[in-house]
Symmetry: C2
Subunit: 270 residues, 2 copies
């Protein structure tokens, strides 16, 4: 059973895991150094714990104790009970959902674990945490098998990515593609057709690619590029096919998370 | 030709349109009172002006003057040239794209202008500006005719909505549905089939609905509900059909902007 501890000093050392949650660069180094990540909101905390991540501590306003009682009961981690003003002072923002947890960051999957997949999304340098979160949620929700992320893509275990994914990052297998230069070759050797999403004259439409996949029963790795500039020339040059979503009304492109959702839907295994 | 004015006092009254751009509630009242909106970044400013919105002023760092030279040349509005530190002090954030414009807010379309459409998205209380921006971009990009927004949905002309939409909010016809209670009846009278996106047992899948539309050549209004809670019972009760995107991996739902993109793609006119 978790141990309840009331805290009323915002500088209490035990709250260190939760400081300045809006300061992205501080959080990046703090979370890497300490090997932790933060989950926010009852539903997301529950999903993290149920997926097997180990809580280091909880930070809750009193009114959230009941909602998480079963989770707290099964945990050894301390529960810091604070009022909402103190939570705001420590974290730097108003914690709408009133509940935070700090959990141990572990690597659950490696690229090798994903090579038996039929459908993988591969994110190059997608830097926005809400985009990464939304993409991983769509990948999971639309029945794809997993995601690979290039070294510079945003962290799926960053608080806002987790929140936007509604915890999908805890159940969907995903891994870093450590080798940006040579990693796609690995996928090709494993029988993946490599499709790059990009706006190019030599591209095929999404439904043409879907028909081709159905006809040929191919494993597919779908490459998505960074917001704004899209895929690097190096990755584009390695694709078997370039695919586009046909656009209207003089619009160039969709938001990358919207494009990912459309592609995962159209190219799903049927 | 626009008039260039160097400003080095952050409290200069002429910068009033640009204060505290991150303070959503302040900006809401300021922009409504003054009848303005803010566009950010060269590409988006260009699209606003080319779509016919009239600039009140520009706020630029010197290095952005060249990129917008043609736009500035054709405008009568003053150009306030400031250094980036001053821009940050006034606006409250680091203006990555170095260029801002304040433009006159005008109502370009009303609900009546959209009733000849074949495909409309109707957003109930979607409150996140990036979701509204991404949705309107998908609606436009995927060839739908326009969007209606319930009274409490987020403002498509708010800076972040504009930015996420990449300016699609300037070209796509959209309007407020002023009558939340009775507005859907208006759509029905105009021959729209009303489809509600929701997770319900009596829902049909997206591809079943697409097949039905193709078979019956129906005009379609697709209702999207607020983040989290979804559509109100009142709107759900008025739908002709409830539609869902089939989900896998134990995931409940997609992010609303991702769901909108998938639905607009699958239900497009072919």
């Amino acid at each position: 059973m978790a141990h309840m501890i009331s805290i009323d000093d915002p500088h209490d050392e035990r709250l260190h895991d939760y400081v300045d949650l809006r300061d992205v660069s501080l959080r990046r180094s703090l979370e890497a150094d300490e090997g932790l990540f933060i989950a926010e909101g009852e539903k997301v905390i529950r999903r993290a714990v149920e997926a097997g991540y180990r809580p280091r501590s909880f930070l809750l306003a009193e009114r959230w104790l009941n909602g998480l009682a079963d989770i707290l009961q099964r945990s050894e981690a301390p529960v810091y009970v604070v009022d909402e003003a103190l939570a705001e002072r420590v974290t730097g923002f108003h914690v709408h959902r009133g509940a935070l947890a700090s959990l141990e960051r572990v690597t659950r999957w490696r690229m090798d674990d994903l090579l038996d997949a039929q459908r993988l999304v591969v994110c190059e340098d997608i830097v926005d945490h809400t985009n990464v979160g939304a993409i991983l949620r769509s990948v999971a929700g639309l029945g794809w098998d997993g995601a690979l992320l290039a070294p510079r893509a945003a962290d799926p275990l960053y608080r806002r990515a987790i929140k936007t994914s509604m915890g999908a990052v805890f159940s969907l297998p995903w891994a870093r593609l450590d080798d940006w230069r040579g990693g796609l070759q690995r996928l090709r050797e494993q029988g993946f057709m490599i499709a790059a999403m990009a706006l190019r004259d030599d591209s095929v439409t999404l439904d043409d690619l879907a028909a081709d996949l159905v006809a040929r029963h191919r494993k597919l790795a779908l490459l998505l590029g960074t917001e704004g500039d899209g895929l690097s020339a190096h990755w584009l040059s390695q694709a078997d096919v370039v695919v586009r979503i046909p656009m209207g009304h003089g619009i160039d492109s969709l938001n990358v998370a919207a494009a990912a959702a459309v592609a995962c839907y159209e190219l799903r295994i049927r």
